[in-house]
């Protein structure tokens, strides 16, 4: 029989705080992490806001030495790992005796570092490219850096599946533990905000537009929505074999019950196919969790303000819940954090675990008017005080990837 996989530690670095409790409080107070971008110019673009971590100071978590070799994504991941390892009780001494793996989800790792490498070569000539930047141009740079920094000697994998990267990383790590290949894995996702990805998404027409009648309106499920705002951050979970966690007396946040993944080959251009792929991922997750769809107490939606993406997700949830979607409590935290890409699924999972712990599901900031015939009637501006035992996390990519995760609460905390 497969092993059960439990969550023994979590961490989050976001524009709204650096702990699940601080993030949850901010979300429930309806505070927004979205602000005018400070770290680069958005002149000439239609969007000017993002969920930027303005105050991020890696030395708080990592000390001041040896930071130079780490780019911003690696710093986010390595700092988040410090917090998750502390939370889970995996001390330096324990890590010396037992192997911990890393499975990290990221969409770009650092397109900024790649661009800096190119820029230096173009400006100063190819002989002057930076070997330090070169080492960080690979998409698994952050996973390697965090393992080196924290002495994590188990599996070291990077999952690149666009927005779904973080959730797919959790799913893969779950399978490695279920199969008995690994006992403990630090997993989740990370993404930095940078000039290059911001301009790329802006030029591709994905970002919320100030020239729209509603202004920049990245509000999930709102009828006025006109695109998403970008964000950045990292969220990690320590996953462990349930028996091993119990043997060491670990405190347990919750359990990964199931996951599912599907791909929409139309990449959102054919509505029926997009809805079917999102629904298939959710059905696979429910099946893997060995529950019924109506056992799900709440949904952390992937919705980010995209006009079509949000609608397809809502229709898919309605299809899977077969008439009960109207009574499903829904949160969509990208209304306050922005679209954090490869980090988003993990940030939703950590946020949902905290919501389950405190019994409050955050409302959707600035949500005023749902579309006519919108199937998720419980998507609300208001926080909902609920007894949440089992939650579904959705992650829907721009590239056709769809992933869903079922998590259950444990009452250790």
């Amino acid at each position: 029989m497969d092993r059960r996989v439990v969550i023994t530690g979590v961490s989050v670095l976001s524009s709204l705080g650096d702990s699940p409790a601080v993030l949850s409080t901010a979300l429930c107070e309806g505070r927004s992490g979205l602000n005018l971008v400070e770290s680069f110019s958005t002149d000439g673009l239609v969007c000017h806001q993002a969920g930027e971590i303005r105050s991020f100071a890696p030395e708080i978590y990592l000390g001041e030495r040896n930071l130079r070799a780490l780019d911003r994504t690696s710093r986010l991941v390595t700092a988040a790992a410090t917090l998750a390892l502390d939370d889970s009780g995996w001390s330096v001494e324990r890590r010396r005796r037992c192997e911990v793996g890393v499975v990290l989800g990221t969409m770009f790792c650092s397109v900024h570092t790649i661009s800096e490498f190119d820029r230096r070569g173009l400006v100063l000539g190819p002989k002057n490219v930076s070997p330090m930047d070169f080492a960080n141009t690979v998409i698994n740079a952050a996973a390697g850096q965090v393992a080196i920094w924290h002495d994590l000697r188990g599996v070291n994998s990077t999952i690149a599946g666009g927005i779904t990267s973080g959730l797919q990383a959790i799913a893969y790590a779950t399978e490695l533990i279920r199969s008995g290949q690994e006992t403990a894995i630090l997993t989740g996702g990370a993404e930095e905000l940078c000039f290059e990805s911001f301009h790329g998404f802006a030029r591709a027409g994905w970002l919320c537009a100030a020239d729209h009648a509603a202004g920049e309106c990245p509000i999930p499920f709102d009828a006025r929505r006109n695109g998403f705002a970008l964000g950045e951050g990292a969220a990690l979970l320590m996953l462990e074999d349930a028996n091993a966690a119990a043997a060491r007396g670990a405190t347990v946040w919750g359990e990964i019950k199931g996951h599912g993944t599907a791909y929409d080959v139309s990449r959102g251009t054919v509505g029926v196919q997009a809805v079917e792929a999102i629904a298939r991922a959710m059905r696979l997750a429910v099946h893997d969790a060995q529950i019924r769809a109506d056992d799900i107490d709440c949904l952390s939606a992937s919705a980010n303000g995209s006009v079509l993406g949000d609608r397809y997700e809502a229709q898919a949830v309605a299809a899977v819940l077969d008439g009960q979607a109207a009574s499903l409590p829904v949160t969509a935290i990208k209304s306050m954090l922005g679209e954090t890409l490869g980090a988003s699924g993990a940030m939703q999972t950590v946020s949902l675990l905290e919501a389950m712990r405190v019994g409050v599901l955050p409302g959707i900031r600035d949500l005023e008017c749902l579309e006519p015939d919108f199937p998720l009637a419980m998507a609300s501006l208001q926080n909902q005080r609920l007894d949440l035992c089992c939650g579904l996390v959705n992650s829907v990519g721009l590239d056709g990837n769809c992933c869903a995760l079922v998590v259950a609460r444990c009452d250790d905390r």
Binding site: V138, N140, G144, A147, N156
Partner: protein, 77 residues
């Protein structure tokens, strides 16, 4: 013979292992004239060797510290 094909390397090697099992033939390491005494293994230099291959191990070691091994076994159907 192929150079280091980076991310593709171990997948190409896995395919070559499968062919070695299928054909009972170990492809050689070309141009291996002076084996390093510190690398003391039974290499197959410069010419393929006919050999019954029931099980093959494929190793991959990366610059960044990653290590991975895959074992392929002949199907005895």
């Amino acid at each position: 013979m192929l150079g280091h094909t980076m991310g593709a390397a171990s997948a190409i090697e896995a395919a070559v292992c499968a062919l070695a099992i299928r054909h009972d033939c170990i492809p050689p390491t070309m141009h291996l004239e002076e084996p390093d005494p510190a690398c003391d293994l039974d290499y197959v230099p410069n010419a393929a060797r006919a050999h019954t291959v029931r099980v093959a191990m494929n190793n991959a070691y990366a610059f960044g510290g990653n290590n991975s091994s895959l074992i392929l076994k002949k199907c005895e159907a």
